[in-house]
């Protein structure tokens, strides 16, 4: 009733009636949105899964580990002995590449490294915070397969992170390792699937080997 007002007296326009319900909606949805944004956006599942940095050398695991069938441990030699599953030194590459594709332009950085003695500056894909200490040998010896954490690396042209590697994700397995266990000699069999029920199969392995993953803080956070 726009013309019902007395002259000189201010009357709020009708559309202001919508402010209060709109404000109510905004005050509910905006915080909810922000929370969901931080929760999902800040989660390692968002920030870390799918991380696929470009490497200085276009090394293809799909070719070497998949098509050629090289075992993970041919290059990552220390995975059963030490905390780090070391990226191989250049001489490991040159074991073959002295003869195989010895003039390929894509292998130039490798040849340069071999000639100069300087390292190839690989980019770390599976990067944990500095205050956590992960030990490969303990997991590999217990029977956790490479693919359980690193995914099907043997199908990756460029390595990408497929698991969030967050603390919650680690704890999920530490609290219930059975579905992720396999006989230790099969850790590098990328396409291995447990016969029958993985949880039951893993339970028997766990009990036989006496595997008791710790959930104490200091196991990883030293």
């Amino acid at each position: 009733m726009k013309n019902d007002a007395e002259p000189g007296r201010f009357q709020f326009p009708a559309w202001t009636n919508l402010i209060r319900p709109l404000l109510a909606v905004v005050l509910v949805t905006v915080p909810a949105y922000l929370v969901v944004l931080v929760w999902l956006g800040g989660s390692p599942k968002t920030t870390d899964v799918g991380y696929r940095p470009e490497q200085p050398v276009p090394f293809s695991h799909a070719l070497h580990a998949g098509q050629l069938g090289m075992d993970c441990r041919y290059c990552h030699t220390t995975v059963e002995r030490a905390a780090f599953a070391a990226v191989p030194p250049t001489q490991t590459c040159m074991n073959c590449h002295k003869q195989v594709r010895s003039a390929s332009p894509r292998l130039l950085p490798v040849r340069e490294s071999y000639a100069s003695g300087l390292p190839i500056p690989w980019v770390k894909v599976h990067d944990l915070p500095d205050y956590t200490y992960f030990d490969h040998s303990a997991h590999v010896r217990a029977g956790v397969g490479c693919a359980s954490c690193h995914g099907r690396v043997d199908t990756m042209e460029v390595v990408q992170q497929v698991q969030p590697l967050s603390m919650g994700w680690c704890l999920d397995c530490h609290r219930n390792p059975d579905p992720h266990l396999r006989p230790p000699e099969l850790v590098t069999a990328m396409d291995w699937v447990a016969p029958g029920d993985p949880a039951e199969y893993g339970r028997r392995l766990r009990e036989a080997a006496g595997i008791k993953p710790s959930v104490d803080c200091w196991t990883c956070h030293r």
Partner: protein, 1015 residues
């Protein structure tokens, strides 16, 4: 019944040992300052909170806390890209990230300690003792642990320096080689006349071989050896009576009674680690037998603190005391040379006479199992008489053995430097090469060595730092650190070790052997070639002996054999006659090598400067120590600066009032007050060398002390971390329960004296926590064995990346050491007993800290460890407030921001480096525990007892600290936890600590005078 008003040491039989423990004189007096300190958990924080400049009102404080809580959750953003840099060629057998251990040796004052060095990714990060080495037996001293920090000191000399005509140039090693060649040609034309080499003491066979070659080629050249601190007096004294210089070796495990006169046998001796080990093992009272130690000294020392009977008397009176003891021994029927054993300088009934009578009684009973030791600060004649006494007791060949001195032709150090200074002054020395050492700074003051050195035209100095001496020399050559060098050294007993480098010389330094080889024109300008050649010539050529020596760290069978020398009775009588000189009047000033920085060479080491001195608990300073009565007489208080004057020379130093120091004695440590020692050394302490002369290098009679009215803040660690126990009124009663002790005879009658049945039988209000871990970790610390040396503190600092905070913060109580050694006095301030107690985190089962953390950053593991999780901590500090042991350390500042890049190489990659605002504390070396567990699991075998050793336990010379699995009933720590002497500290608070202490046993002679035979 059983709990005396003065503490725990009243035995159930009703006989009381009234022991009231106190930490410092302020506490004893219960001064208002001390009370105020006690009331604030963090001294100084209240002042900061009230300071308007910081505007830290309560409200903003809470706001900041809330904000940090909120920020604690936002840690899930992606972090910067990280690179992996593998080798191009990986060395064979090398596993990235897995440490390798190499055996090498570190030399101090001509005697080596064998060490094992842990090296990660090609850089050394941690030093441990080599169990196969006779001088270390698996332990390491504080300075040996700190050698790895010295290696990475960015203020080490990085280039050659040439100072000529006011100009400073940077030559290369090739320039030096050319210079050396020219010099050698010039010297040879003169047969070496006018050329002298001044070297620090070295036992290296390679260097000695090169020296001999040099002196053969240049017959008129001179080689001088100088160390400001050495055992030359003992060497000369033994030479007097045995005809040739000898080296004495003491065997504590064979001794029933030890009389130490001004001797710091357990701490300040090249074989101190071995002495401490033998001592620590013998003092457990297991078979009802324990050796007894009588100590007479001017200044309180670690050995004096460990003694069963201690006498404080001026160092100048030690000779008289020795004669008194000898007289008592002679009266007991032992035949002594004339002049020894006839004088009794002290009146009957005086404390000195009583001490002497008691010591002599024990010596007579012990016979060949007795041992008299005198310190290197006493004159040679005293050593001569002591040698005679040991000989008469039959101890030679048993508790003391003699080996031939490796260099009998060498004159004493003080004579050598005097001769050299005279040569420089009169011009007969025209060219001087100084290898190591710092003579311009630490030579006797009357020689004015710095001026003489500056006046000489052809001087050269090889040293780690471009220090006071280098700046006066024409050439300065950077020296390779021991951890960067090839070489060989001998231990005090002659055992040879090959020194192998852990890393390429960081700054292109060279060793003394290489410099000599360059001068000699040898083709091999490489320490490796020189060492290899020398080794092959002496101990077998070929790969096998060499590799065995490198692997073991020792060359087997190279220890010198003990001699059976013949004593010259006439020489002893002459020495004794010279002893009968009445002591001078006035105060006595005693100068001594500091336990941390030694003669000053380690002054730039942050770890060593911040380590509290075992006796004074001073950090970052030295001080003029005075007995309490002397301080009162002079009207000086702790921290007031006084002027010390002797023979016309004076220095000013702050006063540190020390209970237990002899009346009329002022003590001052050497090694501080460096002018060109580096930024860490700058401002630390006062230089005592200006007072030191060749005639009186240790005991300066007739000194004066004057007040100046100024004050200096002394950062001591003795008033922090006082355990607050149920209020001030209860404190006096409870503090007595921290140290529990009894004499050996009391222990034999009442083995359970340390237990407190009131608390052991306490019933808890809540359910007992069940720990489900496979292992249950625990620790036991034997107070009978701990001598308070502080090596555990430095080992922990090296292993766990503990920062250095500096003097101001130490004065605020913010030093970061995870394990500290508390020092307690008991009894009369002028003659107290001293007790040491290492205090790491107790890993309480009912930890008070865990209950109060608002963010669950500290919680308990299934294996019984109290875990501190740095990334959860928000810095409330409630946990350290609640900790009754005050073992939690908070990072008030970002201590790592200012750590130089080179020094960061020393960090242990297995331990998180903590930033600002997080709490930290002893972890029982969780990184070692995890490494041990994973290794055992990977090898599919159970963990063995003794496989996991925390850093403190590994380096402890006396093996006082034991760590292990309490779930294993056969482990050493389980056995010690079941021991009758075991007790927990503050167990009445029901914290249920996993670290138990074993009560201290003493072995005093019975008051009646007979005393049980102690073995």
């Amino acid at each position: 019944m059983g709990l005396g008003a003065d503490g725990m040491n009243a035995s159930a039989g009703g006989r009381r040992v009234a022991t009231r423990y106190w930490r410092s004189l302020q506490e004893l007096v219960d001064s208002p300052q001390f009370r105020k300190r006690m009331e604030e958990e963090f001294p100084g924080l209240a002042a900061e909170l009230d300071n308007p400049a910081t505007a830290a009102t309560r409200r903003s404080f809470l706001k900041v806390m809330a904000a940090s809580l909120a920020l604690a959750g936002l840690t899930a953003c992606r972090w910067p890209k990280e690179r992996i840099m593998p080798f191009a060629y990986r060395p064979e057998g090398y596993v990235p990230g897995v440490p390798q251990n190499f055996a090498t040796a570190l030399e101090l004052g001509g005697a080596a300690l064998g060490v094992l060095v842990k090296s990660v990714d090609g850089r050394p990060i941690k030093i441990e003792g080599n169990p196969l080495h006779p001088s270390s037996l698996g332990a390491a001293t504080a300075w040996a642990q700190a050698a790895v920090l010295e290696l990475y000191d960015p203020e080490r000399s990085t280039t050659l320096v040439r100072r000529e005509g006011g100009q400073r140039r940077v030559p290369t090693w090739d320039d030096f080689l050319a210079y050396a060649g020219a010099q050698m040609a010039a010297f040879e034309s003169r047969r070496g006349r006018g050329f002298a080499v001044l070297s620090e003491a070295t036992s290296s066979p390679t260097v000695q071989g090169l020296r001999d070659a040099l002196l053969t080629r240049l017959p008129e050249a001179r080689w001088y050896e100088f160390e400001p601190v050495s055992r030359d007096a003992e060497r000369t004294g033994l030479a007097q009576v045995y005809g040739t210089p000898l080296r004495a070796r003491f065997h504590m495990h064979r001794a029933q009674v030890i009389v130490a006169l001004d001797s710091d046998l357990l701490y300040g001796h090249p074989e101190a680690l071995r002495h401490a080990r033998e001592w620590g093992l013998a003092r457990r009272g297991e078979d009802g037998a324990m050796p007894r130690l009588h100590a007479a000294e001017a200044l309180l020392s670690v050995t004096g603190a460990a003694a069963d009977h201690r006498l404080a008397l001026p160092a100048g009176s030690i000779a008289a005391l020795l004669l008194q003891i000898a007289a008592e021994v002679a009266r007991g029927g032992v035949a002594l040379p004339t002049g020894v054993g006839s004088l009794s300088p002290f009146a009957a009934g005086s404390p000195e006479a009583d001490f002497a009578a008691r010591a002599a009684r024990d010596l007579l009973r012990a016979g060949q199992r007795g041992l008299v030791v005198v310190g290197p600060g006493q004159p040679a004649d005293v050593h001569a008489v002591v040698a005679a006494l040991n000989d008469a007791l039959g101890a030679v060949g048993w508790t003391v053995t003699y080996v031939a001195d490796p260099d009998p032709g060498r004159g004493p150090h003080l004579e050598a430097i005097g001769e050299l200074a005279a040569g420089l002054a009169e011009g007969s020395v025209e060219a001087l090469w100084v290898l190591g050492g710092n003579p311009a700074w630490d030579a006797p003051a009357e020689l004015e060595f710095a001026q003489r050195l500056a006046a000489c035209q052809q001087t050269l100095h090889l040293s780690l730092y471009d220090n006071e001496t280098s700046r006066l020399c024409r050439w300065h050559l950077p020296r390779a650190h021991a951890l960067e060098s090839w070489g060989d050294v001998r231990a005090w007993d002659g055992t040879v070790s090959v020194v192998q480098p852990l890393i390429e010389p960081l700054y292109g330094g060279r060793t003394p052997a290489e410099v000599l080889a360059a001068l000699l024109g040898e083709s091999a300008f490489s320490a490796y070639d020189l060492t290899r050649r020398s080794f092959a010539a002496r101990w077998g050529s070929g790969e096998d002996p060499w590799r065995q020596a490198l692997s073991d760290g020792v060359v087997k069978g190279t220890a010198w054999s003990a001699l059976a020398p013949r004593l010259s009775v006439e020489a002893v009588a002459e020495a004794a006659a010279r002893l009968a000189v009445p002591p001078a009047r006035g105060r006595e000033l005693v100068l001594y090598a500091d336990g941390k920085v030694y003669d000053g060479r380690f002054a730039n080491s942050g770890w060593l400067q911040e380590l509290p001195d075992p006796i004074t608990t001073l950090t970052w300073d030295n001080a003029a120590t005075l007995a309490p009565e002397d301080a009162k007489e002079l009207g000086v208080k702790h921290g007031e600066v006084v002027r010390l004057t002797h023979a016309g020379r004076s220095v000013e130093a702050p006063v540190c009032v020390m209970p237990g120091q002899a009346r009329g004695v002022v003590g001052l440590a050497l090694g501080y007050g460096r002018q060109a020692g580096g930024s860490v050394a700058a401002g630390a302490g006062v230089n005592a060398y200006p007072l030191r002369t060749a005639a009186a290098p240790h005991v300066l009679a007739g000194a004066e002390v004057q007040r100046t009215g100024r004050r200096r803040l002394l950062a001591t660690a003795q008033e922090h971390h006082v355990i607050d126990t149920l209020g001030m009124a209860e404190r006096g009663r409870r503090v007595g329960s921290l140290i529990r002790e009894a004499s050996l005879s009391e222990y034999q009658r009442y083995p359970e004296f340390a237990k407190n049945p009131a608390w052991t039988n306490a019933r808890p209000l809540w359910r007992k926590i069940q720990f489900k871990g496979e292992h249950q970790w625990g620790m036991a610390i034997d107070l009978s064995a701990c001598i308070g040396c502080g090596a555990c503190t430095i080992a922990c600092q090296a292993e766990n990346n503990i920062p250095v905070v500096g003097r101001k913060q130490v004065a605020n109580g913010r030093e970061m050491h995870w394990i500290r050694v508390d020092r307690y006095f008991a009894g009369d301030p002028s003659d107290p007993q001293v007790r040491f107690q290492p205090m790491p985190c107790q890993h309480c089962e009912n930890a008070p800290c865990e209950a109060v953390c608002p963010v669950a950053a500290t919680l308990h593991s299934e294996e019984g460890l109290n875990q501190m999780v740095y990334n959860r901590c928000v810095g409330t500090r409630y946990c350290s407030n609640n900790c009754p042991y005050k073992v939690r350390r908070f990072n008030f500042f970002n201590n790592f921001a200012k750590v130089p890049a080179t020094t960061r190489m020393v960090f242990n990659p297995e331990v998180t480096v903590r930033g600002r605002g997080v709490m930290e504390k002893c972890t029982f070396c969780i990184q070692r525990i995890e490494a041990g567990k994973i290794a055992a699991k990977n090898q599919r075998r159970p963990l063995r007892d003794g496989e996991i050793v925390p850093a403190c336990a590994q380096t402890c010379p006396t093996k006082a600290i034991v760590f292990g699995d309490l779930k294993d009933p056969d482990s050493e720590v389980s056995r010690l936890h079941r021991h009758p002497r075991a007790y927990g500290i503050l167990e009445e608070l029901f914290t249920k600590p996993r670290t138990l202490y074993l009560a201290k046993l003493t072995n005093p002679a019975d008051v009646a005078g007979e005393g049980e035979a102690s073995s």
